[in-house]
């Protein structure tokens, strides 16, 4: 099976925000490299290759953009379960949500979110924020090694054993 390498898992139930995020990221990353899921359960199924995603090639995205208020399983609960599992405990997760409440921000950091971003209401601000965020996490940040990545031949993926 040929699968595109998913670089961003976008967990977003609001179709408008989803469109905006995809639009903002279009110069940075092809739409086929972003996987969109619309509720917390689907996000967990994707992350742990279960349910509808049982057949996908295992591998963590470089970034999970996680809304907080989600149907079925709440964003904070998704975060908690991802952090509790050795396969996903280090994946960069950025909360991207409408809430600017201190308690939500603090709870997210306590549960191990890497960053917390409040969705700007203004269109231009939203696209700029999403673009900068995508650039930072895809091109500036060095992601953790992926315990889920399929093993390939040495010369493909092996880290250089030489110290710098």
């Amino acid at each position: 099976m040929i699968e595109e390498k998913i670089e961003i898992l976008l967990v977003e139930d609001n179709a408008n925000d989803e469109m905006l995020a995809l639009y903002s990221l279009r110069d940075l990353i092809a739409a086929k490299n972003i996987k969109v899921v619309r509720d917390g359960k689907e996000a967990l199924d994707y992350a742990f290759t279960k349910g509808a995603f049982a057949d996908r090639v295992a591998g963590n995205p470089q970034l999970i953009l996680l809304d907080k208020n989600l149907p079925v399983v709440d964003g904070l609960e998704v975060l908690r379960r991802l952090r509790a599992d050795p396969r996903t405990c280090l994946v960069p997760i950025v909360m991207m949500t409408g809430s600017a409440k201190e308690s939500d921000i603090a709870a997210s950091y306590q549960l191990g979110a890497n960053s917390y971003v409040v969705k700007p209401v203004d269109f231009d601000k939203f696209t700029e924020t999403a673009r900068e965020l995508g650039f930072y996490w895809l091109l500036v940040n060095e992601p953790p090694p992926d315990p889920l990545a399929p093993r390939k031949n040495d010369h493909d993926h092996a880290p250089s054993p030489t110290d710098r």
Binding site: Y116, E132, V140
Partner: protein, 162 residues
């Protein structure tokens, strides 16, 4: 020294990298909003208001930029101690270091680093990276609300039974 508007703690022993980082960030903040510590011990003194910093205003920086290889106390140890203390465990910490070894990257994330950045060797690239970093963490990210001196995290157990 006016510490009221402190924003970044830069922990960096290399004077050249320090100058570059400060230069790159100049548009995002004024110089007195960066505190530089040149080794791991100084970083911890600063974070916990001890030693030389016993008299500073007890307020957490918005962001700690932490080199991994540091004199006296290693960056990873600094990170571990920050994460183990209720006053500092939520401060966003970005590792900014020369090492791109998988083991170092994994260790830092395991100890709770929010982000890991390999310092570009090229000066222009370094500048761009530092700018993107500053923009993300100072303008886009919402830092956690905790502050040294306040009660430990007023969150989940906000109201212990009386």
């Amino acid at each position: 020294m006016n510490e009221d508007c402190l924003e970044i703690l830069l922990v960096e022993d290399n004077a050249n990298d320090e100058a570059l980082a400060l230069y790159a960030l100049r548009g995002l903040l004024v110089a007195n909003k960066v505190q530089v510590a040149r080794d791991g011990a100084e970083a911890l003194d600063y974070a916990f208001c001890i030693g030389l910093y016993a008299n500073r205003t007890a307020e957490n920086p918005l962001l700690i930029l932490l080199d991994k290889h540091l004199p006296l106390v290693d960056g990873l140890d600094v990170l571990r101690r920050l994460r183990a203390d209720s006053r500092t465990y939520m401060i966003p910490v970005v590792m900014l270091t020369a090492s791109s070894e998988e083991r170092d990257i994994r260790d830092c994330y395991e100890q709770g680093a929010n982000s890991y950045i390999v310092k570009p060797i090229d000066g222009d690239q370094f500048m761009k990276t530092a700018q993107k970093l500053g923009y993300h963490w100072l303008l886009i990210d919402r830092p956690p609300p905790d502050r040294i001196g306040a009660d430990p995290p007023s969150l989940i157990n906000a109201h212990p039974a009386e």
